[in-house]
């Protein structure tokens, strides 16, 4: 009896004590005992990681290098040779002279069979498409939305010509590349397909289907290409006929809508670095080894002011894109380095091993009593 009452008393006491206690509750979080893995870079782990990386990277490197090697590429620089001898002393004057004949003939030799489609690029050098003043000199709303044709903010100084807003405005559009190439093989024309050279998302969403160039390249200085007006009209603007008539004066003649101006779309996807290529078109027939391609070239575009190079590039593509050894070399380098280090570490591991967790390595064991 007495013992049971004592027990009852004890339990009452302990519950009361528990209620008043400030003892922190146990949790793995507060006691910092969360389960954790503790990776230790032991020599063995280091070596295996290196080996693993090299095992993955070397094959990938080889594969991408092979893919790159399969790509056939013809690069021809023509900015110098397309200046007539007589004008070589003042190239800028020549290129800026609107009446001068800019036609230039070059020939390209196909040194290896090229499977269609063959992509035609122009490559510019020292051209800062990524310059801050250049990049922002466009108006996305205007390009997308026909209602916003007069919004030219950000386009200065190419926002207005003759007091009217320019569509498409801005420096990028204004300086549209305007060299043209006509390819022929054995005097037979090679058709260059200029459709589908831009990213679909750009065509569909960034450049409106009902946005038309207005007042373009009508300013005092012409920076580059005019927009192509020879592409057949593919969209009729319903119920706007009257309006269009009033604006453009001619009911029969339409400027092409921007979403079809693929040269412009390509050009306006500004490049990241000052040396860049832009897709010009596609040749959809195979070129055989030994073929000679003659190119009739209109050398209109002025890169001479800033001594930029111009190159014409014909290239096939593989699954990894154009010819680019970088990726393969980088993979092989990293993989090779890893392999080399793995070997080196293994040798050290065997020749002069460090015993793991050897207490004699502890600083206080190395120089006992040291200060």
């Amino acid at each position: 009896m007495s013992s049971s009452s004592a027990a009852a008393f004890g339990s009452a006491d302990s519950t009361a004590a528990r209620r008043n206690t400030k003892r922190p509750k146990y949790s793995k979080f507060t006691q910092q005992e969360l389960p954790a893995c503790k990776p230790i870079l032991t020599p063995r782990a280091v070596i295996s990681v290196f080996l693993l990386v090299s095992v993955v990277f070397v094959p990938v490197g080889v594969a991408s290098l092979l893919a790159s090697r399969k790509v056939v590429e013809i690069i021809h620089r023509y900015d110098a040779e397309c200046i007539p001898q007589s004008n070589s002393s003042d190239k800028v004057a020549y290129i800026q002279n609107p009446s001068a004949d800019k036609t230039c003939n070059i020939t390209l030799n196909v040194h290896k069979h090229m499977k269609s489609p063959i992509h035609v690029y122009y490559q510019l050098d020292n051209f800062y498409q990524n310059h801050r003043r250049y990049v922002k000199s466009r108006n996305d709303e205007q390009l997308r939305d026909s209602e916003k044709w007069d919004s030219t903010s950000g386009c200065k100084p190419e926002d207005m010509a003759n007091g009217k807003p320019i569509v498409p405005c801005g420096l990028i559009a204004w300086s549209l590349f305007n060299d043209t190439y006509i390819f022929s093989r054995n005097n037979k024309n090679l058709t260059v397909n200029k459709k589908g050279i831009s990213w679909k998302s750009d065509r569909d969403h960034k450049f409106g289907k009902d946005v038309f160039p207005k007042n373009f390249q009508n300013g005092s200085i012409i920076g580059g290409a005019r927009l192509n007006d020879s592409i057949p009209v593919s969209i009729y603007v319903n119920n706007n006929y009257q309006c269009m008539y009033e604006i453009y004066g001619s009911p029969l003649f339409f400027y092409e809508q921007l979403s079809q101006q693929e040269d412009l779309i390509v050009w306006m996807r500004t490049a990241a670095l000052p040396t860049f290529r832009k897709l010009y078109g596609k040749i959809e027939v195979d070129l055989n080894e030994g073929d000679t391609i003659s190119v009739i070239l209109k050398n209109n575009y002025n890169t001479y002011s800033f001594s930029g190079k111009k190159k014409l590039v014909l290239s096939t593509t593989g699954w990894l894109g154009g010819k680019n050894d970088f990726l393969g070399i980088a993979y092989l380098t990293v993989g090779g380095l890893c392999f080399f280090l793995a070997m080196a570490f293994t040798i050290i591991y065997f020749v002069k091993p460090r015993q793991l967790g050897d207490p004699s390595y502890l600083s206080w064991n190395r120089n006992p009593g040291g200060h």
Binding site: T21, K22, R23, P24, S27, T30, Q31, Q32, E33, L34, P35, A36, C37, K38, T42, P43, V46, V53, Y121, N130, H131, R132, R133, V135, D140, R144, K156, P157, L171, S175, I197, W199, S201, H205, K206, V266, A271, A272, L273, P274, T275, F276, K278, L279, F306, S315, W319, L320, G321, G322, N324, L327, A330, Y331, V334, F345, G357, Y361, L362, W364
Partner: protein, 1227 residues
Amino acid sequence: MMKGLGGIDSQPGSSFSRTSSKMHQRPPSQTIRLGRVQPQAPSYRTIFCNDRESNFPVRFKGNSISTTKYNVLTFLPKGLFEQFRRVANLYFLSISILSTTPISPVSPITNVLPLSLVLLASLIKEAWEDWKRFQNDMAINNKMVDVLQDQRWVSVPWKALQVGDIVKVKQDEFFPADLLFMASTNADGVCYIETANLDGETNLKIRKALEKTWDYLTPPKASEFKGEIQCEQPNNSLYTFTGNLILDNQTLPLSPNQVLLRGCSLRNTEYIVTVVIFTGHETKVMMNSMNVPSKRSTLERKLDKLILTLFVTLFVMCFVGATGSALFVDKKYYYLHLDSIEEGSSQFNPNNRFLVLILTMFTLITLYSSVIPISLYVSIEMIKFIQSAQFINKDLHMYHSETNTPALARTSNLNEELGQVEYIFSDKTGTLTRNLMEFFKCSIGGEVYGHGVTEIERGIAERNGMKIEEKRSPNAVQEKGFNFDDTRIMRGAWRNESNPDICKGFFRCLAICHTVLPEGEESPEKIKYQAASPDESALVIAAKNFGFFFYRRTPTAIYVRESHVEKIGHTQDVSYEILNVLEFNSTRKRQSVVCRYPDGRLVLYCKGADTVIFERLADGNNEIRNLTREHLEQFGSAGLRTLCLAYKELHPDAYESWNEKFIQAKSSLRDREKKLDEVAELIENGLTLIGCTAIEDKLQEGVPACIRTLQKAGIKIWVLTGDKIETAINIAYACNLINNEMKKFIISSETDAIREVEEKGDQVEIARFIKDEVKKELKKCTEEAQSYFNTGSAPKLALVIDGKCLMYALDPSLRVMLLDLGLNCHAVVCCRVSPLQKAQVTSMVKKGAHKITLSIGDGANDVSMIQAAHVGVGISGLEGMQAVMASDFAIAQFRYLEDLLLVHGRWSYLRVCKVVLYFFYKNLTFALTQFWFTFQTGFSGQRFYDDWFQSLYNVIFTAVPVVIVGLFDKDVSASLSKKYPELYKEGIKNAFFKWRVVAVYAFFSIYQSLIFFYFVGTTNLTAKNSDGKIFGLWDVSTMAFTCVVITVNLRLLLICNSITRWHYISVGGSILAWFIFVFIYSLICHLFGRQNVYFVIFVLMSTFYFYFILLLVPVAALFCDFVYQGVQRWFFPYDFQIVQEMHKNELNDTGRAKLLEVENQLTEDQARSYAVSRLPPAISKHTGFAFDSPGYESFFASQIGVYAPPKAWDVARRASMKSRLKIVLQK
């Protein structure tokens, strides 16, 4: 009713009397009622008691308090202002403003978003803290108190209280305002108060009302009270009060003795009636509250330097870029139309290249702003807050179950500072030793009683290889304050000893000669003693256990229930009339009581320090004297605190003549204290020695082991104590601080040469002489220490110095030498030091040696030292809150320092270092990719990344994992941290946040950013899929950004020592968050009026190239780190890495099981101390018998009119309050 009573018409008489009595001082009160409001004279305030209406025109402040920083209206402006006082926030504000101008390449969102998130987080924290303060205030303001209204007590909330109200305070209630004490239920108008909240002292103090007001106790009587109080204006001096009570045309002077301060509480008194004098913020305690200057950790100050370096880096980057821009601009780039620079954008005008340079500078600052890690401070704050609130406060290892006290981090600023402490300054009493005085041994008439063995003796024996078994008799008494066992004198057995009369005298002396107050029931089991020091109560408890039970005290008599005096088992109550009490003070070092036996005998009992008692002994009986001296030495070397007891029979005539002198001295107005001392000297001579007592000041649990561990961790421990040099050395030995292998330097003022000079009494000469001596000693010691170092085989050194020598050694001319010597010593013991000297020594090491210091103490006398050190630690759980209130961390036991420093401190340091360095790395890496891009854009400042990418980089994509590391990373487990205390040295050496480490991180930042930019940049030129289409700028940048996010997050895993689930979740989550974001954003970005990145990620993902880059770039970027880490670990391993390897196969901490184990296996000693701790607490103050303790205030001191000296901290506080006080007065 109250209104009626106060009105002039109903009580014309009282009003008249008031007016007439005050006519000469201030305009009659009627003028006020007529509406001509007269401002009160600034030098005093007049309070009409129980008359709200008369007080109304003065508009005293209400009693509600508010400690909140903000209110609803001021929160935003004031809170924002506080935030912008931080340089980083201000910098980002200016960057944000700058980015709204056309000069900026980035849209404002880039900088505004992180800034506003940071501000939001800080403001929420502020608001939350303020809300808590507000709730706290509300709780206090709404406490209830009884106020006299309409002749009865009405319960009203505190905030409704007004100056002049009559208030009833019941037992154990707190005083709601500063009150004037009028009447008490106690017979002679006294009440007892506890001032723990004010000064941390838990001993009771007596307050006594003016005799005139004693009767106003009941409501009807109290409502008749119509006094007028003239008193000083509110001020912050806790121990002064001047004022008069004008009652019935009589002016009665008021003293602090009648004032009850807010924050104190009523004890031992049923209830009291009081008048409110100061309310709310005008109360003395509120005027004393000031913000403790917040300390910043050393690491944070170093961090500031790092940020400064980053600013310089930023400037250099901008300057390089701007110079490039100025050189680049040229009209030849016709496509940029630089010839027709439109208005407002002269940034690229080739004709003014200098302007280009300046403007581009600003452009680039906004572009590279992410170099400065804006969220760093917030993240660190958050991490440290959780560290302290969740980890330190809730650590079960630091929870003391006996006192039910968990550890408490009072600030979260200093967590990582705990990981770098090199010097610990420790108080002795209450910190190293238990705050537990136990009557342990005694020597009566030349015979030693008590079988106990102290821990010190045991320690010495253990070192000598002996083992001492302690025999305890089975029925030994167990009580707090009494740990004595000797059947020879217990239970009346003393009657059979050789000299029972001396025994009787000894016990009576213990029972009579003291200033202890009994409390509670008058039975030996239930009584509680209120004592000024635990020693005193230990002595009285000892008397009780010897059968001399002191159970009642009246102002004139002491009642003792004496057993076994006549014969065994017989009990009788005896009352001794107390004629005089001669108080302790630091010069007297003794205390005497003159009492009259019931039979009329007059006896003076005296107890005090051996030196003073021995001087005053009557000649004769040298045998006892010599034996006792021998015993004193024996006790002293065992670490016991000794007191000598003596008595003297007085002749009535001699006493009468002396008493006249005493009364004269007591009532003298000038030099009262000195005169009292002189008079006491006249009677305290020719004493007869009875014996001596020995009280054990027990060592705290686990102190020696803890000190050994801390010393192994490279921490040097200095003990600063007010004790005697011998006691201090003993304690130092006992707790392993000093051992026999050490070379000890002792610089003491107790040398014959110094004593000789001192006896001559020429102060100037003494000072000069001691200084010379100290200088000589210091020089000698320094040279000796140097020679030890030169020989190579240096023994460990220890320095012992006493307060007087320290005073001279701290002199600027000698300080360098002292510091030099001190820093070379493994242990330093300073004894007989004042609180000020404690602080001086601390700041000498802190400022002189630039070492990180920690002070630990438990008492009010440690406050200055605690505040002076980098980290202040208070011992909590026992009595007294003063040290805890001043501290940064509070722990219950000294031994918890081990956990606090070696575990929490070390981890915090490690984590904060990692967080800081990682922030540095990730922001620098990110900004550098921008920097490399700048070179490719004609230095135009074109941004590489989309605005949203950049702004969310710090906020979302890389924010969480680093916080997780700051919380969870641990290199080795807690138990290993303690097992290998040497690991702590890495923190002392600051091995993880050196410039070398920063440089390594910077190198990897540069390397990685180059990899990011140039590896991804190669994608620019050729087609990236079989369609032959080409990537544009935004494709490349998005790819680069993806690589940065992935790499930076993976890099985090590489620097982790332990990886929990949360690491995976946060790192994976961050990378996933980026992809989710970019998927959604690239679809809807045109809605924000920008279509740069429209569809970009989908374009990228449609190419194989993207995936190849995604594999290559992070691996190539991390390759270097990996090699570095592998090589470092292999060839130059850190200690913690070796320990990791040694224990890599062990499981995690056993956790809970181990904890429970610890708790269930109490040693016998622990069990006893636990049992004792469960006994009802006796309220006492621990400053002990060190008479010069600053907090000493006797119960009777005020009664006999002895001036209580102001406390050291009060003086300090007032000095710092001066400026504020002035402002208050000006108002």
